[in-house]
């Protein structure tokens, strides 16, 4: 653990990313303390510039507090990012592991299915899924997971393919271990590093997809999110720049931070890069 942290900390940008991510997490966790009311509530004078009428970051066309929206939106964005990624990783690992471990017909079947999903542009596919299901937080999570898992599946399949003929796996076979136990207990821990790295980067992508959907008006209309704020404010850009600028910066910083942390994890976990720098 100590050496992992040392390797991670060697990457300054990763530390910077981690610091930003920490701030965003704190902001999300304390949103209800600083902004106890519903972020949709009509808090005062509409279209107030930042710093006026008691609005730190201004208010939008209905007089909603942009700062409250960003704080509460952080919760939505992070939650959707994490849950969608977990679901995607879970599906991807199962599909990839089965395909890589058993090979043959199972591999063909699962990989052709994966390719079918990969041929559809992911954002368009996500729009389609949300439009078919009712726009709600569940359907958005499902849509993001459905478009994200193929990448994980291919990665895990590759790892399983290369590991399944190693000696330690053959040894497991010899002592009569069950397939499930070999897959979960022996092979999976050995390919955890790339999964963690791809997973962390997927959180960023998931946040971007959610923002994109909300921007296009396909977000859950009952839940505050950054994409919603940008989408709602874009028509006001020429008269009230602050409504979509600040949530946009929030998205930018979060995605940047997650990407930096992901890079750092990659450096720290990838044995082939250990001797780098």
């Amino acid at each position: 653990m100590h050496s992992f942290w040392k390797r991670f900390a060697r990457n300054r940008q990763a530390l910077f990313g981690l610091a930003i991510l920490g701030c965003i997490l704190i902001m999300a966790a304390t949103a209800h303390l600083f902004f106890p009311t519903d972020p949709f509530s009509l808090a005062g004078q509409s279209m107030s510039p930042p710093g006026q009428n008691g609005f730190l970051l201004g208010s939008d066309s209905l007089g909603r507090d942009v700062a409250a929206g960003i704080a509460h939106g952080a919760k939505t964005s992070l939650l959707i990012g994490l849950v969608a990624t977990l679901v995607a990783v879970l599906i991807g690992v199962i599909m990839g592991a089965l395909a890589g471990y058993y090979g043959g017909i199972v591999d063909d079947l699962l990989m052709r299915t994966t390719e079918m999903f990969q041929t559809i542009p992911s954002f368009v596919f996500a729009i389609l899924l949300v439009a078919i299901m009712k726009p709600s937080i569940e359907s958005i999570v499902i849509a993001i997971a459905v478009v994200s898992w193929p990448a994980v599946a291919r990665l895990v399949r590759g790892e399983f393919l290369s590991l399944r003929n190693r000696e330690f796996v053959q040894a497991c076979h010899t002592i009569g271990m069950s397939d499930v136990r070999i897959m979960l207990g022996e092979i999976l821990p050995n390919c955890l590093s790339p999964i963690i790295v791809i997973g962390s980067l997927m959180v960023a992508t998931a946040i971007l997809i959610e923002s994109g959907l909300a921007f296009l008006g396909l977000g859950d209309p009952n839940i505050m999110s950054w994409g919603f704020q940008v989408g709602a404010g874009r028509t006001l850009l020429r008269s009230a720049w602050w409504v979509c600028t600040f949530p946009g910066i929030a998205i930018l910083l979060t995605v940047l931070a997650i990407n930096l942390v992901g890079e750092g994890l990659n450096d720290a976990l990838n044995p082939r890069l250990r001797e780098r720098s």
Partner: protein
Amino acid sequence: MRHLCKFALAAVAMSAALASGAAMAQKAGGNLVFIVQPEPPSLAGYLSTSGPIGLVAPKIYEGLFDYDNDLKIAPALAESYDVSDDGKTVTFKLQQGVTWHDGEPFTSADVEFTVMEVLKKVHPRGPNSFREVTSIDTPDEYTAVFNLAKAAPYMLSALSAYESPMVPKHLLEGQDPRNAELGNNPVGTGPFKFVEWKKGQYIRLEKNENYWKEGLPYLDRIVGRFIPDASTRTAAMESGEVMYGAFGAIPNIDAVRLRDTDGFSVTTEGYATINPMALIEFDTTEPPFDNPALRKAISYALDRQFLIDNIWFGYGKPATSALSSTFAGPGLYKDPMPNYVPTADIEEAIKLLDEAGITPDENGVRAKAVLDLIPYGEDWRRAGEYMKQALVPIGIELELRYEDVPTWLKRVYHNYDFAMNVNYFYQLADPVLGVHRHYGTDQIRQGTHFVNSTRYPNPKLDELLVAGAQEPDAAKRGEIYGEIQSILAEDMPVLNLFEMEFLTVYNDKLKGIDVSGLGAYGSFAEAWIDD
């Protein structure tokens, strides 16, 4: 009752308009490029009331009447008309010497064919507008006599080029009008002739040199351009590439900016025959909204002026009744009704709920419901978000639902699977045409869009609606509609929010576009460019 005299007034108004026009010295010639958005499916105004068709087709086709900005009748293809005392015979005298764009003469046979064979059969609103017409006699080429089963005064409000265009019998007879070639290759009597339609780009019309109105039209050419993106439309207007955009083609926020810019004007005129009303429909058959007290409480709790000011940038008028205040012209609108307030009155709303025994639970919630929002753009979402907040103080908890158009239409008008639905309706030029469809039990037509989805049953009201449709006497008709409005203000199956004002943005060089109450759906015969 004789109506011939009315045209004397109209003629005076016309000549006054022409006189003031003469002082401005119209210039003939020039091209007008205007925004048509979205691209129309066809140019068959006799088949569809779709908005973009209305922007183009009335320049090619004409109706029997035109209407001024106060909804008063102005002559068009009918030079005069006469209603018999019992209201059951309406005689139209047609203009002489009118020809179709292909050179054939326009006669009363065309009128008979259009109404009986086309509008009554395939037009969406025609079967309602001409419901009572049993036959049309054509004693000579320039006289058409409509024989009605019952008096139908509202019919005279539905004779514009947009609502009931006259079509050439010789090009449609013996064909199914729905598939006829005329739909994409229109031939009318209007001031402009159809020339070219470049799909995805523009429709081009040229001046009709043989137009029957002397000296008109002024313009040489009209081009309707399709520009799908709203900010591109604004940019095209600002650069002078297009000169006219109606029905919110330029978004309100940009319109407000252009209004304050030199060289551009914004007007809300020209929508009198459309009369759009923003409203909420309730499912009155199931809890919680089967209780009128709850519906009225919502009417008190919503700040109509806030919606207008903050979402529609000041364009609109708080609703005060089931009828739009524009019906004050024909004497049908009754003065402010109870239960309609321009700004929120939370105390009154809570008092109503308490009196009705709708009490809050331990969380302060009196009722919960899903609010469906009309999926016609961001403004409606903002309105929904506002309503959700505005009803919190009176203990009504809303969940918002925003779906795609077909799903939403199916939910509300087919499955009746809704509780509360934000929507807007065109009240049109007469309540019979636009308002009756909301309330009559004969208008509970499952699967038909934009009719009585609330399924509010009231036999007394049904009787009044029938009486209102048939009463030829204006004063008595006003009384009937007064009573209708009182009942609806008390029961409120539909809660009217505000009278919407669509915006037309135009370049100041463009003149003479404000002469018809039809606005953008008008003929543009008198439009000219001053450069």
